[in-house]
């Protein structure tokens, strides 16, 4: 028979006490027992990063952590990033503003990893961002936009990336640099 073990955790600021199966991962418990389905399930071997959550003072692949190991811990999932009033965290808003979300399935994990990176390195370089998020696969491959979004909320980062992207688009002769202003141009 399945052995049930009581645990106490704080999830997104809320204390919870409940019993978990000894063999269930933190990912399963978050999704199935607590209905926090923002944390995603993909590879189940700690490679894709879709299940990334914050446990105490570090991020973990919740598919590789048994729920009982989280006993006594403090957990933050993607649902806990926004303020209690629903106000998006700056990193969430930046992901929207910079087009970092496409299909969206990897995004909860990307956000948790980006949030952790910015706690450790408030002003990361592009290389540090790419290395910091290397454990989070995005098959839409929005890596450039994700990097730009992280740069935009970095300390002292007054959206340098927007300028960089606009410059790149201008060099490419692409429409992006002019995209913000040329809506009327279609009438010609």
């Amino acid at each position: 028979m399945t052995q049930l073990i009581p645990i106490e955790v704080t999830v997104n600021g809320r204390p919870r006490s409940f019993e978990v199966a000894a063999h269930h991962t933190l990912l399963e418990v978050l999704r199935d027992d607590l209905a926090l389905t923002g944390t995603k399930e993909c590879c189940l071997v700690g490679e894709c990063g879709a299940c990334t959550v914050r446990l105490n003072d570090q991020i973990v692949d919740s598919c590789l952590v048994l729920a009982v190991e989280a006993d006594g811990g403090t957990i933050t999932t993607v649902e806990g990033l926004a303020g209690a009033d629903g106000q998006l965290a700056p990193i969430q808003q930046a992901f929207l503003d910079y087009g970092a979300t496409q299909c969206g399935f990897c995004i909860p994990g990307q956000l948790m990893a980006a949030d952790d990176l910015l706690r450790r390195l408030p002003s990361p370089t592009v290389e540090q961002i790419q290395e910091g998020l290397a454990g989070n696969l995005c098959r839409c491959a929005g890596y450039e936009q994700i990097t730009e979004a992280v740069q935009a909320v970095a300390e002292g980062g007054v959206a340098p990336s927007r300028t960089r992207a606009a410059d790149a688009a201008a060099r490419a002769g692409g429409a992006r640099a002019g995209a913000r202003t040329n809506a009327e141009g279609l009438d010609q």
Partner: protein, 754 residues
């Protein structure tokens, strides 16, 4: 974000984006109806086997086990389905034909119980020889993959060739060439690897059934379910939440029919969420062996192309044979070629059924064809860019006879890519450059309906059966409606993914939705504009001819009114709404080999600069340029995202991705550890995505489809750069460090490029 224009040509934040950053976006696996049962597949650790018996006694004893379905529990003869051939059984019957084909489905109260019961299903089977390569499948002594009884009138039914596709013009054999270059190229099996593993759910729904699926084509699925369950379409409701990535792998039905039978059997909702490993066993791209013979004149003008491509498809056809036919059709590329002979074969094997995957069969053949052009240029001593420009079709050229003529100023894309990579600038020591082009035929037929409702306050609801799997269709369609009806973007709601609510759409594929569904939405909005004109005429006692409605402004002879200023008095005290219907149709052309000429071509030019670490074989991409002819960017940021995303996906099959099969037909690198896709550490040091926009597409405002272009020619461009940088000659993808290193050793051993 008032600074961001939210109309056509602007890049507003993604419509539906907030749920994607808060975790609220519900994918299929996140939806949990009351009383839902969990299902698990029972599969065998072999590819091809005769099933002798399945004993479910022990499994049924597991507490919480509710049902076990095997072939014996389904209607006889076994219902089959498939978009091209009705060959795929709902569950393996009598034998398995590929590694991972389910032989039983276990349904239980919990995942744990389902898992345990699935492990207790005892299957007695006899392993049979499997074919897993083109050569193996074509061996006259090879076991037959297909069941000849399913296609009794087909002369190929007794072979492992499902179909042959022959295209040609001119006389290849009589063509006089100064140089003939002949080579063989290989493109391996790769998988879509959407980060969302496929998920399916079904529940009895009154006298019908409701099916949830992470599917790109909900209306196709509705038809399949109605067919196997013998229900009218109106009794099958398909809910298709936004897929977490599709890339073609989620176009057609896979395990939904099986889950539907399980729901009817148990009378409860049943869900099946595949593991990533099972998704590898469910969908992949066809491998391809391409033999290319190209004839050139000494001035590098093309004389002929003689192309034979054997695509290794899987155990059931799925849409794979269409992939082969359509992908190989433009195999000669965007060039004027006087004589061509293309033979493409769909070769069946005991492997995962291959299906649609971004690029739809073209990247495989283009890997060989573009690489062979470089071989010709090298032999003739002519610049590779110049060779391409010399042969490129001009706009309007019937470069494929009887097909859609060249529909873009393609040389603009090539010249721009060349400029961006600095083709004419001196090449630093140890660096190499490559340039390649690709075209993909857009949709050859299509049908999209849209209903748009202009509500009494001027807000708008758009109904569109397109699936937004990340490409951003919801945003683009909302932008079109906002543009035409004058509503702010956040007053536009787009309803998708429910066949009981949303009108028919044929499919979300072939980069069609901006063009076809975009035109349907545009048509619906224009219908509402006509109603507004009539309303304004009535209100202001004018003739309709005196009034125009343009982009949300109603122009009377003496003044301009907003839509709402006409709508509110026009609707009157009872309120109500205006409803517009739009339709975009691309009819079939029975005489055309593809069933219709493409609505547009996706054209891309990719240019690469790379270095190679000779000690390790590691390739560094210094710069990756892609230029796509998109007609008109309705949302430039989304265009860039799709273009870059395709380019990086192309780097996956170019540099690292491939299935490894053993002789018994088992995939040895299932899952994320042993099958690598590009991460943020695998990006080019600099990536530039450019567009050519001449508003010459068939979609709204001159848009063409895009989002596949940038992976059509990634591999030949990268390989060319690697060769120039290192002398390594590689004709088998992917260009792993080991392969590159070995090619360098071979170069050194022979004293010349191999």
């Amino acid at each position: 974000m008032t600074a961001i224009a939210d109309r056509v040509g602007g890049s507003p934040n993604r419509v539906g984006g907030i749920g994607r950053v808060t975790g609220a976006q519900a994918y299929v696996a996140d939806i949990r109806p009351t009383g839902v049962l969990e299902a698990r597949l029972v599969t065998l650790e072999v590819a091809h086997a005769r099933i002798i018996s399945i004993d479910t006694t022990e499994a049924a004893r597991v507490p919480g086990c509710r049902a076990i379905l095997t072939a014996d529990d389904l209607p006889q003869p076994m219902p089959r389905f498939g978009p091209q051939f009705t060959d795929r059984p709902v569950i393996a019957t009598g034998e398995t034909k590929y590694h991972g084909e389910p032989v039983a489905l276990v349904v239980a109260d919990t995942k744990d119980a389902a898992e345990e019961a699935a492990g207790r299903v005892a299957v007695e089977y006899e392993e049979l020889p499997a074919v897993v390569t083109v050569a193996g499948a074509l061996d006259p002594a090879a076991p037959l993959v297909q069941d000849p009884a399913l296609r009794p009138d087909d002369p190929l039914a007794g072979s492992n060739v499902l179909r042959e596709h022959r295209v040609g013009w001119g006389d290849v054999d009589a063509a006089a060439a100064d140089l003939i270059v002949e080579n063989r190229y290989f493109f391996p099996m790769v998988t879509q690897f959407a980060i969302e593993p496929h998920a399916f759910m079904a529940a009895p729904d009154g006298d019908g059934i409701r099916v949830w699926s992470s599917i790109q084509h909900p209306n196709w699925l509705q038809r399949v379910i109605a067919g196997v369950l013998r229900l009218p379409l109106s009794k099958v409701r398909v809910i298709a939440p936004d897929p977490g990535g599709g890339f073609g792998g989620k176009q057609h039905a896979k395990l939904e029919p099986l889950v539907a039978f399980a729901a009817l059997r148990t009378g409860r909702p049943v869900r099946l969420v595949l593991t990533l490993e099972q998704t590898f066993q469910a969908v992949r791209r066809a491998a391809c062996e391409v033999h290319v013979r190209t004839g050139f004149r000494s001035d590098a003008t093309l004389v002929f192309q003689d192309i034979a491509a054997d695509y290794l498809i899987g155990a059931y056809a799925d849409i794979a044979d269409r992939v082969v036919g359509k992908g190989s059709y433009p195999a000669c590329g965007p060039y004027n070629v006087p004589a061509a002979r293309i033979l493409a074969r769909s070769v069946l094997s005991h492997t995962t059924p291959s299906t649609a995957f971004r690029g739809f069969g073209y990247p495989q053949v283009n890997w060989g064809v573009e690489s062979n052009l470089d071989e010709g240029a090298r032999a003739l001593g002519i610049d590779r860019l110049e060779l391409r420009l010399r042969n490129l079709a001009n706009k309007g050229d019937a470069f494929i006879p009887f097909d859609t003529p060249a529909d873009g100023e393609w040389s603009q894309s090539v010249r721009k890519a060349a400029e961006l990579i600095g083709w004419d600038t001196p090449l630093p020591e140890g660096h190499g450059r490559g340039i390649a082009v690709g075209i993909k035929s857009g949709p050859t037929t299509g049908l999209s309906y849209s209903t748009v409702r202009l509500l009494a306050d001027g807000s708008v609801v758009v109904f569109a059966g397109t699936s937004d799997m990340g490409q951003g269709a919801r945003t683009v369609l909302a932008q079109i409606a906002a543009q035409e009806l004058g509503a702010p973007l956040d007053w536009v709601t787009v309803v998708m993914g429910d066949t009981a609510v949303v009108p028919y759409d044929q499919q979300t594929s072939a980069s069609r939705s901006t063009v076809l569904m975009g035109n349907a939405v545009l048509g619906a909005c224009r219908s509402i504009q006509a109603q507004l004109r009539a309303m304004a005429a009535r209100l202001h006692d004018l003739d309709q001819s005196q009034i125009t409605v343009d982009r949300g402004v109603v122009r009377l002879p003496d003044r301009e009114l907003s839509v709402v200023e006409v709508l509110k008095p026009g609707l009157g005290r009872l309120g109500g709404e205006l409803i517009g219907n739009g339709e975009a149709r691309k009819e079939a052309e029975p005489g055309h080999p593809l069933g219709g000429a493409p609505a547009f071509f996706e054209f891309n030019c990719t240019a690469i600069e790379a270095t190679v670490d000779e000690a390790t074989g590691d390739v560094t991409l210094l710069k990756h340029v892609t230029v796509s002819d998109v007609g008109r960017s309705i949302n430039p940021l989304q265009v860039r995202m799709q273009d870059e995303g395709a380019a990086i996906m192309g780097l996956g099959h170019t540099l690292m991705e491939h299935y490894i099969y053993d002789d018994a037909g088992r995939i040895r690198n299932l899952g994320a550890i042993d099958y690598r896709i590009p991460t943020s550490m695998d990006l080019p040091l600099e990536m530039v995505s450019g567009t050519i926009e001449n508003a010459d597409g068939p979609g709204p405002y001159g848009a063409k489809g895009m989002s596949e272009g940038a992976l059509l020619c990634t591999a030949p461009a990268v390989a060319a750069a690697v060769r120039e940088a290192s002398g390594a000659v590689i004709r088998d993808l992917p260009l792993t460090p080991e392969r590159v290193w070995r090619a360098i050793q071979e170069r050194d051993a022979t004293g010349q490029e191999a």
